[in-house]
């Protein structure tokens, strides 16, 4: 499915080694206008490094990283980008309003400061010093700094970590609005419900490569069926031989078994292991789909 949307940010054959390890392996990736793109995958998959290349903080060893058609490391390329990083902090002694005003001054077509404060839900915190904010409040200020310039590319790295429910909902609504107005949004998240709720497109990464690129519903559909979770003494190899089972894998202390026939699978499971604990059966979620995609890719690579 070929989109006719312009790529706002892209990696073309980008490779990056960090500490002697190949973190990105000839990665191709395009973030397009008007779309919310979620970048998902296990820790160490290369999400942070990809964001680092796309925001110009890192430069690729090989291949190219481009923002608005420019080399991403050039300051001019950042003129129409807003970024909310997990690793970024705020100066303790400056007030929220001072920070938003300063940041707005970096952009040519910034929103009025009062509007930004309102949108990010921090109007009542405007005169508070950043050092006196709670974790969730700081995240909202970071969000305000990302959107104050009406950016054409909005990069959100784990935006709602440490945010309460209401703030999360409000942030989702404004992100959706930004995309509907034509901005490109790149989102990384550990919360797959967030990706499911927001993203038009999900890129699943593993070992520095894209293993899936599709809509959230299409990715979920790849794992039509059910997921059985339980604690069992049976080895993975035995579990994969149960009827209907497509995939079985340890997930913490639990085993996660993807099956097309939950009833048959559970029946045989109980026959083979009478001491099964904590048995649950559910529909496959986006998380299950991604876990399966990643584990399939690992098996092919091995």
């Amino acid at each position: 499915m070929e989109h006719r949307l312009a790529a706002v940010a892209e990696l073309a054959g980008a490779s990056k080694k960090l500490g002697g390890r190949l973190v990105l392996d000839k990665l191709d990736l395009a973030i397009r206008a008007g779309e919310v793109t979620a970048l998902l995958g296990p820790n160490g998959a290369g999400k942070t490094t990809s964001v680092g290349l796309l925001t110009g903080r890192l430069s690729p060893d090989d291949g190219a990283a481009r923002l608005f058609g420019l080399d991403a490391t050039r300051p001019a390329a950042r003129a129409r980008m807003g970024v909310m990083l997990q690793a970024a902090g705020l100066p303790d002694v400056m007030t929220v309003r001072e920070m938003v005003t300063l940041q707005s001054g970096y952009y040519r077509d910034a929103r009025p400061v009062a509007d930004t404060l309102e949108l990010a839900g921090i109007a009542e915190l405007a005169d508070r010093r950043c050092g006196r904010l709670s974790g969730g409040q700081s995240r909202r200020v970071q969000y305000a700094l990302a959107i104050c310039g009406r950016p054409d590319l909005l990069v959100l790295d784990e935006p709602t970590a440490a945010m309460d429910r209401a703030s999360t909902r409000a942030l989702w609504a404004t992100v959706r609005e930004a995309a509907d107005e034509g901005a490109a949004v790149l989102l990384t998240s550990h919360d797959l419900a967030e990706a499911d709720a927001l993203a038009d497109r999900v890129l699943v990464m593993n070992h520095g490569r894209i293993v899936a690129d599709d809509t959230p519903s299409a990715i979920r559909a790849r794992v039509s069926g059910s997921v059985v979770r339980c604690r069992t003494a049976l080895p993975t190899a035995r579990l994969t031989m149960l009827p209907g089972v497509r995939d079985a894998e340890a997930d913490g202390t639990d085993m996660r078994i993807v099956t097309s026939d939950a009833v048959q699978t559970v029946r045989m499971l109980l026959q083979q292991d009478e001491d099964v604990q904590g048995l649950r059966v559910s529909d496959a979620s986006l998380e299950d789909a991604i876990a399966q995609l990643v584990s399939e890719e690992q098996r092919i690579a091995a």
Partner: protein, 249 residues
């Protein structure tokens, strides 16, 4: 292309914000402003039986000393702590050029230096120091210019070390550059090996430039000292720049 151009006044606003930040951190501001003035008052007034001649000679060295504190602590320790808090990360992904960030920190350090100089100059007037208007202007200019090489030195440190490590290193350099540069005790009174090392320190040459202002008889060697300071500043600029690049990768 115009949409990529930076808004006007960005550098000025960044500098004003940085100065506001320094003013709101009196725990850092007060010691760097008061220490040089207090030392000068102690040595030039209290221990020297108020000899205006000695107070004039010392004024030159203390003006350079006043610049090293804000530059080493504001940049060195300050930048290392900001890096740990993720403030540099925030700036790095902003449309703001890196130069505006460095220039703003330099402006804040010069602001602090100017406050420290005001205190020293007031003490000098009490001590009976007489200089021409041009002399005062030249000393102030040398003092403010002294901020630059030490700021770059501090910036390079801050990009390479942890906050705590940078504070320790800044302290050592603060004292070391004052002693080896002859800012407190004339270089001629130091042992030979210390005088040799002293020649490698920017404060030694800045001190010579300042001494030539209060004692024009020394002025003949000023161009060579100015050239050495300029060369050292360029080298320290490279050290600062590679540190910035390194911390990005």
């Amino acid at each position: 292309m115009s949409s990529y151009a930076l808004p006007a006044g960005l550098w000025r606003r960044e500098a004003m914000a940085e100065i506001t930040r320094s003013r709101r951190m009196p725990q850092f501001l007060v010691p760097t402003v008061v220490t040089p003035g207090a030392f000068y008052a102690l040595f030039a007034l209290a221990l020297n039986r108020s000899s205006p001649e000695a107070a004039t000679v010392m004024l030159a060295g203390y003006g350079v000393f006043a610049a090293t504190g804000p530059a080493l602590f504001g940049f060195g320790a300050g930048v290392a702590m900001e890096r740990e808090q993720g403030l540099i990360e925030l700036k790095r992904v902003s449309p703001m050029p890196a130069g505006a960030y460095v220039a703003a920190k330099l402006a804040a350090a010069m602001f602090t230096t100017a406050l420290a100089m005001a205190l020293i100059d007031t003490t000098a007037l009490i001590a009976g120091v007489h200089l021409s208007i041009l002399g005062w202007v030249e000393l102030t200019a040398i003092s403010l210019a002294s901020t630059l090489p030490f700021a770059l030195l501090g910036f390079g440190l801050g990009m390479r070390m942890s906050g705590k490590g940078a504070v320790a290193a800044a302290n050592a350099l603060y004292l070391g550059s004052a002693i080896l540069g002859g800012l407190w005790i004339p270089s001629s009174m130091l042992p030979g090996w210390m005088r040799t090392i002293g020649q490698c320190v920017p404060s030694y040459h800045l001190n010579k430039l300042a001494q030539a202002v209060v004692n024009p008889a020394l002025g003949s060697s000023s161009p060579s000292h100015a050239a050495i300071v300029a060369g050292m500043t360029v080298a320290l600029g490279i050290w600062a720049w590679t540190g910035w690049r390194r911390s990005a990768a």
